[in-house]
Structure formats: C-alpha cells, structure tokens
C-alpha cells in the first residue's frame, strides 16, 4: 500500500481556520458567561467577557469576509469546493452517510478521497454550505447589530426587534457550538486520530491507497496539480 502526501490546505486557509477556531471557541465560552452570568464566571468579570466576545466576534466576521473573498475572487473555487452538485445530492450524501454510519465500523475505506480541487465529501459540502453561507453570516450580522444597538436602532427595528435578533443570535450560536463538537469528532476519523488535525496545521494530508476501489476514484478525479502530490512510501 502506498502513501501519498497531498498539499490540501494552503497557508491562508490554515491561518483562517485556526483564527476561526480560536475565535469561535472564545465566542462560545464568553457567550455562555454573558447569557448565564450568575452561574458562569470564566473570564473574571462580565465586562471582560463582553469585550472579549465583541473582539472575537469582529475577528470571526472579518476572517469570514477574507475567506469569502479569497475563495470567490482569489482562488475562484468557492462553488466547486462548497456547493454540492446534483450527483453529490442524489448519491454522494447517501453513500457518505452509509460509510460513516455503517461501513466505517467494518473498516471499509472512505469513498471520498480529498484532493485540493475536491476537499470535502458530499456530506461535508452540505454541512459547510449551511454553516458558511447561512449560519456564520447570520450570526455575524445579528452580532454586529447587537453590538451597535443605539446607532443601528432603525435596522434593529426593521429586522424585527431586539428580542428576535437576540433569539436568532443565541440559537445560531448554539448550532455552531453543536457543529464544533461534531467537527472536532470527525477530525479524529482519519487513518490516525490526529491525522486531519496535523494536516490542517502543516497543510499536507497523508493519504493511503486501498486497492482497486481507491485507484478508480483517483483515476476518475485526477489531482489538479501533480506537483502538489508526493509519494511518501510504498509497502
């Protein structure tokens, strides 16, 4: 069995990812203290929690904008990477779900092999589409409005009022928090528990070939740039 090293995550994407990770974890913890101050005091006092929450929120919102412009204007891959195609929706999602919830437990190989042009499996694409195009923009927008209630009061009223914004912000934040648990768990499903985390840190993903089935996938989806692939070892 040979092992390929694929350069999967370019430096800007990795910086963005870890900045986001830090930001979202900070937002979840500060948000919990802001909502339940009589039960939680993680950051010393309420004011610090609010200021940290606002800062982390701005960092995530700006980082989201950079990510969006990088993929739409810079690499022009946003649709290819994040929007599931017809085949993904018809067969890909089911095939991937069948793998995760059944075949995985029998040691079968993952039907999806990540390449720089197809980093995400159909389930990931659908989840990221909802998260990156609905949840993160909405949670950022509601957050920006809630940070500036007095100057943006008219927009707050037009959006349905403060309570609606707070409710949406809270529920979407809970959804992001839920995603975080699932996301972190799924990163442990690589060929080693830390393989995907390492790859997000170094950019290089180690991939194993699993016989004929894997070969077919590779032939069907050739890598965009052979220079980004190096054979590590063979056995």
């Amino acid at each position: 069995m040979s092992k390929h090293m694929i350069y999967l995550h370019p430096t800007p994407v990795r910086i963005w990812h870890w900045l986001n990770a830090l930001g979202i974890v900070t937002l979840c913890l500060t948000g919990a203290q802001i909502r339940f101050p009589e039960y939680l005091n993680i950051f010393g006092n309420y004011r610090t929690a609010v200021l940290l929450h606002n800062t982390a929120g701005l960092v995530v919102a700006i980082s989201f904008s950079l990510w969006f412009f990088y993929y739409t204007l810079g690499s022009r891959k946003i649709t290819q990477l994040y929007v599931p195609g017809v085949d993904d929706l018809k067969r890909g999602v089911l095939r991937q779900a069948f793998f995760y919830f059944f075949l995985y437990f029998f040691g079968c190989p993952n039907p999806h092999h990540a390449t720089p042009d197809s980093k995400f499996n159909p389930m990931q694409k659908s989840a990221y589409l909802a998260i990156m195009f609905v949840l993160v923009p909405l949670v950022s927008l509601t957050g920006i409005l809630l940070m500036n209630v007095s100057p943006l009061r008219e927009l707050v009223i037009m959006a349905g009022g403060l309570k609606l914004l707070v409710g949406l912000h809270f529920l979407m934040a809970c959804s992001l928090c839920a995603f975080l648990f699932t996301h972190v768990y799924l990163t442990t499903l690589g060929h080693t528990p830390l393989a995907h985390t390492k790859s997000m840190w170094t950019g290089w993903e180690e991939e194993e070939d699993h016989g004929e089935e894997a070969e077919k996938v590779h032939q069907a989806k050739p890598l965009a740039d052979p220079a980004l692939v190096r054979v590590k070892a063979s056995s």
Partner: protein, 367 residues
C-alpha cells in the same frame, strides 16, 4: 393594660394641642400678612388668578395651574411656603419670602447633604416646586432631561464610554438615578415612544399625551394596549399591541428605574461591576409597568403581567438586558441543539469503540 393606655391618651392630647397651636399660628400669619388665601376648596385661586396667567406675570413668575394643582404643594396651599406675601405685592417689586424645602423634607435634606450633589445645587436646581410630581409619576426620560440641565450629554457619553460597553445605549435606557443613587430594587417601566413625524428613519421620542389621545381616538390612552379595559396589561395584550400594524409608529421603550427613589447621589463602585444588573437573573426582571401619560404631564403606572420582559419575542420586542431577560424556552431549545451536536461524538464514538477489533483486523489484512 393601664400602663399602655395612659401614655396613649397623653400622647393624643398632646398631638391635638400641637395641631391646634399650628392652626392658630397659621391663622395668625395670614392675619398679620393681611392677605386672603381664599377658602379651602380654592385656596390657591387668588394667587393663580395672576400667577396662572402668563400675560399678567410674565414667563418667569408663571405657574401652570394644571401642573401645580396636581402637586402635593397645592394641597398645602401657596401660603404654606409664601407666608410673608402681603396684599398688593403685585408690581411693588417686593421679593416674596420663601420657606426652605427642609422645613417639610428634613429627611431628604439630611440624605442629600451627604451626597455628591451637596453644595453643587439646591433643591430648586432639579425640582420646580410648582410642578413637582411623585417619583413614580415622572418618566425616566424626564429624569435624564433634568440631569442634562447641568451635566452635558456629550461629556457624560464620553466619560461613560471610556469603560462602559454601549455607553450610549445605557444612558438612553436608564435614568441616571438607577446607577447614581443607592436604590436596591428596580422595576421595568415601559414608555410609549413615537417615531418623529414625517421622517421615515426618524428617531423615536416619548409620545405626548396629546399624540396618544389622538391615536386612541379620544378614548383613554391605556385602551391602546389594555383592550379589555380591566386596568391590567396581560402578555397577550402586549403582544397584540406590538404586532398591530396600526401602531407601527409606536414602540414600547423599557427603562429600568429604582423602586424607591433616594437623593443619595453618588458614584457607586458596585454599579461599575456589570454583574450588579446583568447577573441579577430573570427573577429580578419579573415586575414591569406600562407608563401612560396624563394631561397634567405626569405618568400613570399600570401593572403588567409578571415576567413580560422575559417573553421570547413580542411582549417587549425591543427590551433586552443581557443576562437578565433571557427566555427559558430558548435556553431549552439551545440545550437540545447543543446536545444534538453531541450525538455524533457520543453515539458514533461508542460504536467505534465497540467495532475497534473488526476495523483493526481489516487494517492488518491491508498491510
């Protein structure tokens, strides 16, 4: 029993004697001033016949009869404070002697003397005795306007902005006395505000009695919200008011005001600690009232169903205090969502653990 009765009787006789003495002294004062204050039903009539007419006495000496009649001061009458006024004082250039507020409000005077305002201004600096109303009868906006006569709004905003997140919002939503007096318990007063006319994105101002009376078609203003007329505002009535497109130019603005107003003006360190308000929890946010403007410039407070500001959406759509007014149902939904996120790690992780031998065997075969 006798030991109790005797002092009571003595006390009663004593009180009657003092009261009789006061009446006598009052009559003597009137007699010496040579000025008639009228009978009890219209005892201020003589004074107001001139001072209630701006044309006769000018703006400076004018007393609005509607606002004055509502005050407790009107009940005790003009001579209670202006006992040295003589007949024919009009046009004489004579300055009328005034009684100091402390003669009746001694307790407040003592409290005020210990506050940071002492020596900066006297009672008249904030209160006009001819239009003064009980603390519960004035709006938070009126209180802040009163403070703004000395404290420049921009300076206040800038000094608070140095340490207080969303300083402008706090200043707008709280009467200054909520933080700057030593009051302990608070209530949420909901004031009806109205968008400035003719401006689509105009700011909202406190709606006047006249504007709301017109909006209510001449009926009691409370009927705009209290549709069943029981003098009590339920959550459903609040929601209906807020969702009614007919009232889209009207909003309810919540202000957290002290339950008991004091004159102990000071900068309190515990108010700088946000948890004083924000960690008070939903239990402290149960009581609220709707403030209805009256013709005499005061406000009538009408009780609202308990927990209105904790409603998820429509009871008070624009009043939210971080940490304090969180909705219990939303908390539960949020918890379910987060628990949903744990299903994959826990459920899949458990099956993964159980199937570890099968997977390892398969991997060994590949290698």
């Amino acid at each position: 029993m006798n030991t109790i009765k005797i002092p009571l009787i003595v006390a009663l006789i004593g009180m009657l004697a003092i009261a009789a003495g006061n009446v006598g002294a009052g009559e003597a004062a009137s007699a010496t001033s040579g000025y008639s204050y009228g009978d009890t039903t219209d005892k201020n009539g003589n004074c107001l016949s001139c001072h209630g007419d701006v044309g006769k006495v000018g703006k400076k000496m004018f007393i609005d009869p509607v606002k004055y009649t509502h005050t407790n001061h009107a009940r005790i009458g003009c001579p209670a404070c202006h006992d040295a006024v003589i007949s024919g004082h009009a046009g004489s250039g004579m300055t009328t002697a005034k009684t100091g507020c402390r003669q009746c409000h001694d307790d407040i005077d003592v409290e005020y003397a210990r506050s940071s305002h002492a020596g900066k201004t006297d009672c008249n600096g904030c209160h006009d005795p001819h239009r003064v109303a009980a603390p519960t009868e004035i709006s938070g906006q009126d209180i802040n306007r009163m403070c703004a006569t000395c404290h420049d709004t921009y300076e206040i905003s800038a000094s608070h902005g140095k340490w207080l997140p969303q300083a402008d919002l706090h200043i707008e939503m709280l009467p200054c006395i909520t933080c700057h007096t030593g009051s302990k318990n608070y209530v949420i007063n909901l004031y009806i505000i109205k968008r400035q006319e003719g401006v689509r994105f105009g700011k909202f101002d406190l709606a006047s009695y006249g504007e709301l009376k017109k909006e209510a078609g001449g009926r009691d203003i409370l009927s705009l919200i209290d549709t069943n007329g029981d003098g009590y505002v339920s959550l459903d009535e609040l929601r209906n008011f807020n969702r009614n497109p007919q009232y889209k130019e009207l909003r309810l603005q919540g202000m957290m005001t002290p339950e008991q107003v004091t004159h102990s003006f000071q900068i309190l360190d515990n108010r700088r600690n946000c948890t004083f308000c924000h960690a008070s929890g939903p239990s402290a946010m149960q009581t609220s009232t709707v403030a209805i403007p009256e013709a005499n410039g005061t406000f009538r407070k009408v009780a609202v169903e308990k927990g209105a500001v904790l409603d998820a959406l429509y009871a008070t759509p624009n009043f939210y205090m971080l940490g304090g007014t969180r909705n219990a149902m939303l908390n539960k939904i949020g918890l379910v969502i987060i628990a949903g996120g744990m299903v994959m790690p826990v459920g899949h992780g458990f099956l993964r653990f159980l199937s570890r031998n099968i997977r390892n065997r398969r991997e060994d075969r590949h290698e």
